[in-house]
């Protein structure tokens, strides 16, 4: 539908037989190469820091930054680098907990080139609220399980969330529900739209200091029997983002969407890196597991480890 809107404008352009498009010679603004940092500290997980280089428009060169090196500080105490995982990726294994203040610096020899700060977010207690299961009531043989996940007592400050819905415990192995005759549905429509991708959102949309995520799972007995699938396991990951990570993801996503849209204002990518680009933003999350047993669903307490069993955490 976006294209329809753009076509509307194009239609007006085309209606004028004299309109024309031509390649023009524009001198793009000059650019001085700077380091780019990507690092997302998560409690309980090793931290990988990637160092890249920016470059000018239509200038070609090395994207991977091999001239600089990172230094990590947790509560002003430096953490040693354990190893270099690839050409410009460095691994740290800090013992992080909620409230820790982190600083990442990029050095070239004895010179500080860039730095960024972040804080490990405190994730609130979550609870499962109303649970409801509706057995098939018509010929289509559709099951419907509904849940409500509540985030009570939210703080008044901004609260950036991330939600993933994953079917089965290895999302790499089974990425989608589409075409199987079953579907996930939520009144948070984004959970439908972007399955199984991560989705960030801010809490300000939700009122009264409480976030409620109603979740419904539809499936067909016939379909599952026919396809021979085992009982389904669903994971819902709900995370709290640092402001830095949230803004970086939102702005980069929107810039990608706008790239070919001639009418859109081009927006800058948010960065909390002083002297460079990218982001250094902490993140933490909790996992909910829903297991279908026969004709019903159950919520089963789960852990991060169980979610990522058999999955390469670093690449996630």
């Amino acid at each position: 539908m976006k294209n329809r809107f753009i076509n509307l404008l194009y239609a007006l352009v085309v209606m004028n037989a004299f309109s024309c498009t031509k390649l023009i010679d524009i001198e793009f603004p000059a650019h001085e190469r700077k380091p780019v940092i990507y690092a997302m500290p998560v409690p309980g997980e090793p931290l990988e820091v990637e160092l890249l280089y920016s470059r000018g428009v239509n200038q070609f060169g090395l994207d991977y930054n091999i001239n600089h090196f990172p230094r990590l500080f947790v509560n002003q105490q430096e953490v040693d680098t354990t190893r270099k995982t690839s050409v410009a990726k460095y691994l740290f294994e800090p013992d992080l907990k909620a409230g820790d203040e982190l600083r990442l610096e990029v050095w070239e020899g004895d010179s500080l080139i860039a730095f960024a700060n972040t804080k490990v977010p405190e994730i609130n207690d979550l609870s499962i609220g109303a649970y409801q299961y509706t057995a098939p009531t018509n010929d289509l043989n559709i099951n419907n399980a509904s849940f409500e996940i509540r985030f009570p007592n939210l703080p008044e400050d901004e609260y950036f969330m991330l939600a993933d819905l994953i079917k089965s415990k290895s999302f790499l192995g089974e990425t989608t529900l589409e075409g199987r005759g079953s579907s996930l549905k939520s009144t948070i429509p984004i959970l439908d739209k972007f399955l199984p991708r991560s989705v960030g959102f801010k809490d300000k949309f939700f009122a009264e200091g409480e976030i409620v995520i109603p979740l419904s799972i539809y499936y067909s007995n016939d379909e599952d029997v026919a396809s021979g699938y085992p009982p389904n396991i669903y994971f819902l990951i709900v995370g709290k983002l640092s402001r830095e990570k949230y803004l970086f993801f939102e702005t980069s996503r929107n810039q990608n969407l706008a790239r070919e849209n001639f009418l859109a204002q081009v927006y800058e990518i948010y960065s909390n890196v002083t002297g460079g680009y990218g982001f250094f933003g902490a993140y933490d999350y909790v996992v909910f597991r829903f297991e279908r047993k026969g004709q019903s669903f159950e919520w089963v307490p789960s852990s991060k480890e169980e979610l990522f069993e058999g999955v390469d955490i670093i690449n996630w």
Binding site: K2, F18, S220, E223
Partner: protein
Amino acid sequence: MRKSKITWWKGLLFLFFFLPCTLKAQQQGNLRGYIKDAQTGEFLPGASIYDTLSKSVGTLSGANGFFELKARYPVVLRISFMGYQPSFLNLTQAPDQALTIGLQQDQVTLREVIVQSETEKVQDQTLSLVKLNPRIVDYMPALAGESDPLKVLQLMPGISQGQEGTGDLFVRGGSPDQNLFLLDGIPVYNPNHLLGFVSVFNTDAIQQIDVHKSGFPARYGGRLSSIVDVQLKNGNTQEFGAKGTIGIVSTKLLLEGPIQKDKSSFLISGRRSNIDLYTKGLSRLLGDDLNEFSFYDLNAKINFQPSTKDHVSIGFYTGYDAYQSNFTDSRNVRSESFRVAWGNRTLSGRWFHAFSNGITSLTTAGLTNYELQVNAVSSDLVSDLRSVYRLSYGNSLQEYNLRQDYEKSWSKHQLSGGWYFNRREFSPGLVDFEVSIQDTVSNVSGIFEEPRLNSHEVGTYLEHTFSWKNWMVQYGAHLVAYRENEKTWFIPQPRLLARYNWATHFSTNLSFSRMAQMVHLLGNSGTGLPTDVWVPATDRERPQDSWMGSLGGQYIVPIKGKDLTITADLFYKKMDHLLDYYLGTDFFLNGPETNFLLEFNNSWQNQVTSGRGEAYGLELMLQRSIGKTTGWLSYTLSETTRQFELLNRGEVFPYRFDKRHDIAFFFHQLLKEKFKFSLVFVLQSGNRITLPEGSFLDYFDPQGMGGRPRPYLDIIENRNNYQLPAYHRLDLAFTHTKKKKWGEREWSLSVYNTYARQNPFFVYVSSDPVGRTRQAYQVSLFSIIPSLSYRFSFGKMYQK
């Protein structure tokens, strides 16, 4: 010498004996009346009434052409109004009742635009006021022959266009949402048809357009940058008439006439687009998918005068645009239909009353509605997966208005005051979607609605205007109380306008005003698209406000018969609490699906950042408004910037439509009685765009998961960092008028962009799929566009 002495003695005797008698015989009293168009009976607000004997008594007609002045008889009144022949009235004593003075339209001295008033008028009501006579709009060159008053206003100093061809007004560094368009006192929220290429204001139905861009009278409020006050005709109270235009873009028809002669009248004016007729026919001819664009609007008004002291009018406006697209692929496996429609409706009732003590009141009640509706249906017609995807989206704004304005003039004073109330109901977004797959189990539907917001506004104002020696001072205040949710704002807005006449032909003026705006328009396309959403100021996003100062002068070149006026204005404007998206989000940018389902889930209030703006500049204008040769040359030198907390690292950046230099030249020549020629030349600095300054690899690496190569992100460090080449064009128009037995007809040939300048409509930067290499392309929308239109009018009133 002897004879001379006798004459001298006679004169002395006359003075000695008869002068006291004459003085004693002088009467004083309030002189009241109405100024009307002699042919149509239309009231003429803003006409000048000036006593040429005393040279110190004068006023301007107010609402409904009513005036009152303190006269010392005898008086010789000169009554003048732009586009009309001046009329003189000799009164030796006070009339028994209110006068009705009719002015004849002037065919030779077609005063198309007046910026400020003539110095002979003692009470100059406003500074930097543009009065536009809609009659001239028809004679000006126009894009595709579609005359448009907003395009003419863009030729005024301090008012510029945004994207080429569109009618958005950028007034003294302000944005388009900062202009209040009033149609008979009722706001119109989207003044555009056809995505801005045609305005909703049909010149046939318009009596006058006043544009205030500084020195705002206290009665006005609600927007930061300008008030565009469009007054519709009441309809002819004398005789029936009809007029129409057949052009490339649209066809117009107007009917008017008396219901009861001299007492009441009606006016109906309609317009419909012709474009859909071409496109529909073309689609059928080529067997192509349907792409249809259409619009219409209708103005209707009835007016009646139950007594000499009362005048009542009821007006209605409705206008709608629709774009329809149907598509079926060649294999007949998928069909899509898409429709977007938007429109305004206004309903107004006005009651003017003149009290016996000289106080006049104008009561206005009305409502305005703006809505956008998008419907999309996509169907997969494959036998084993027959799915239907339906989505509709709508947003709307409804406003209810009630206001009363009072006015009283005495001696060299005028006092005006009033109050108003309005309630706005915003529905920022409602999504209704359904996905169904036939013969399978999935059927998902839902309704999501952005919380509706209601706001209330109560305002009052008081203003005093007086003349003292060479001074004219107008001071007042506008106070508004605005409430949304649980939050209430009180915003006092002082206003001052002072003028000093240094000599007969030279005056200087100073103005100072604060303006407040309770609504924001969210959108970043800059093209006046209907997808921009009106939202109210809230407890989180407070009302916009501005402070503005202006210093100017006016000089009438003392060459008899030339009537050359030079005006100059320096201005400074500071705007606060402006809104913009900081995440780069908007309806159009993300496309409706993602906006509906993603951003919709994330309220607009989470995605905006507040900021400020600044604009300053110098405006110059040389104008000739009387004679066979008329026109003006205007030049604006200005700078406009914006600053937002979460944009451009919080640093100041140039506004997208910052036109450093803006020159406009309009020339109109009455060649013979039947021929008119006009020319428009525009030269202005190019718009600003944001070019990427560099790039770096995205965090997301799909290649690591077996996908496409890792994409690049753009580095944008400085917003609006590139200025497009200068914009210029030359337009010509020839009009031939011929009287017929049945009335009059006119052929008008218009040539837009005569020398085919390829001005950039927009520039986009194209890249390879991952954004590694970049190239810039310029799209020029309008080359030379000749057009022909035919106008006809029936009735004596149009037989000039």
